[in-house]
Symmetry: C2
Subunit: 330 residues, 2 copies
């Protein structure tokens, strides 16, 4: 069975399965003994060939790494600490050899980095590569940060910089960079090997700083309105504060606009969170080397307005940007 | 978003989300508050077009129902009580209309019947229908029945009858019955709408009767050796005790052999379990109308031998039977 091959390939390189995992791969189901006083946080995330990645373009290491990283980012967005995951993997036969080995190497790297253990899964043959991952994490009971807690007056923060992953994707799709090429490697890193902001999420939850949180998976112009809608508030976004990706001059010429990338680019997996005004002075300027930037504020009403340096506001268009990614959205 | 449409369509018809589910669909992740003294049991199960079902042959109600039922059967096989599930659903655009409505109707029926609540999910567009379900259940700490506890001398039991689902599949694949036709409906029921033996699993776990358990998803000739391998024992299977499906005379002529169906047919989702000899008298003859039959015993050594009515033993070939189902196996 393929699942046993996966377990053999991935498990020795995985962090030790936590003691509360009482039964792992090989039986009908896995068994988990929850810690007292903790709640479980669960999410599932599909990563599909053609919809989310191109098997002939994206390196299998990246596909394996990113499938797990993006699923785990949803736990970061709750402030939870990830614990373990289940993997469903459907593959064409031609991907069961070297492609699969490289895929598992990437996934195993993500598992070590994110400290999550593989505890179960399912496999099948399929016409295209289809990956689905369920990640489980833990958090102090009542301590999760949902999307729904933002209040007028709260300050809006974002971690890191925005548009990096979309820049990488654009370079790949426009044939300006191949994933294997050295030259643009730093620009492709966020697209191929995103880093969920787990330590930041846990810190914000533990110190009870954030009133609402979401990860930037669809792009700021979709994720911020989603947070606002869940909280039944509006927001002002300060255009000149946006930590937009730095685009090299040579690539700027090709018509890639850093502000558009920052507003509409997806898959950065940064944390977008709101902090009550009275707590804003407690927010550090960075967390483990990742900058934290105030980019706006929550207001009464609906929708997100974009405030330029001249102080004039316009409505932020809720726009995705890339048809490749959008093919998977409705 | 499709997931919201799913939540709207399925949730009102679903059993009430248990109080320990603190956050359901609509945020980055779901939150579950575990019950004290209980362990969580988790399993994921892929149900893929062409590998596991044919979207143009199998009714969408059946696809939705069966996807959830087969995933939940893995919890029955541990003796756990199911609680909630996450659904990942990838669909071609042409399946997002009436097909999806019927699919959700079937899934909602299974959810009501199995008493599991939808708490999260993910959706995407895809070239074929790909379903992945993670089901969570609970069990008294230490109470789960694994595959690994069978000991020489234990009696092997199976619930219900064997080969029913394969008979239904054969009728459909050979064009002898269409899923909509009245005439053979009872014969197709197990293939289209399988019933996981949840009450039986819970009873066996609570009364601590079973030493090992597995559900018959791949067929007896694969599932029994799997249980034996996990327990490091062998087994004798009594051929004349096998509760094989009844095949109507009209269909017997077509070359469908009840014993072969019972030995090698998959997807019955019955429970196959072992009971220590001293407890065997406590096993009832049926549980909620489902018969329980002693079909063999556990022996020292390896492998499963088939003992005929004349007492002669031969090795049970570990054989799947149908290439349609086998396409998804390795």
């Amino acid at each position: 069975m393929l699942i046993e091959r996966i377990a053999r390939a991935v498990s020795p390189r995985l962090p030790q399965v936590p003691r509360r995992v009482r039964l792992s791969i090989g039986d009908d189901a896995a068994i988990l003994r929850p810690s007292p006083g903790r709640e479980l946080v669960l999410t599932c995330d599909a990563f599909l060939e053609n919809a989310h990645f191109l098997a002939d373009v994206h390196p299998p290491e990246s596909v394996g790494y990113k499938a797990l990283a993006r699923a785990t980012s949803d736990l970061a967005a709750m402030g939870a600490r990830p614990l373990c995951f289940l993997l469903t993997l459907a593959l064409p036969r031609k991907r069961t050899g070297r492609w699969l080995d490289a895929f598992l190497k990437g996934m195993s790297r993500a598992a070590r980095r994110l400290r999550v253990a593989l505890i179960g899964g399912d496999t099948a043959l399929h016409s295209t590569v289809a990956i689905d991952i369920t990640v489980l994490g833990e958090i102090r009971a009542g301590g999760a940060i949902t999307r729904a807690g933002a209040r007028p007056g709260d300050v809006v923060y974002v971690s890191g910089s925005l548009g990096r992953a979309q820049l990488g994707l654009e370079l790949v799709l426009r044939g300006l960079a191949t994933p294997g090429a050295r030259r643009w490697r730093p620009l492709l890193q966020s697209h191929l090997y995103p880093e969920p902001r787990l330590a930041l999420g846990v810190m914000l939850a533990r110190r009870r700083l954030a009133s609402a949180m979401i990860d930037t998976s669809d792009g700021l112009s979709i994720d911020l309105p989603n947070l606002c809608e869940a909280s039944r508030v509006g927001a002002e976004l300060w255009l000149d504060r946006l930590p937009a990706v730095r685009v090299p001059a040579e690539i700027l010429k090709r018509g890639l606009d850093p502000v558009a990338l920052a507003l509409h680019g997806g898959e950065d997996y940064e944390l977008l969170f709101t902090v009550p005004r009275r707590l804003a002075s407690l927010v550090p300027t960075s967390c483990r080397g990742v900058s934290l930037t105030a980019i706006g504020r929550i207001v009464r009403g609906k929708g997100v307005s974009l405030v330029g340096p001249e102080g004039r506001a316009r409505v932020l268009p809720r726009a995705g940007w890339d048809h490749f990614r959008n093919a998977s959205r409705r």
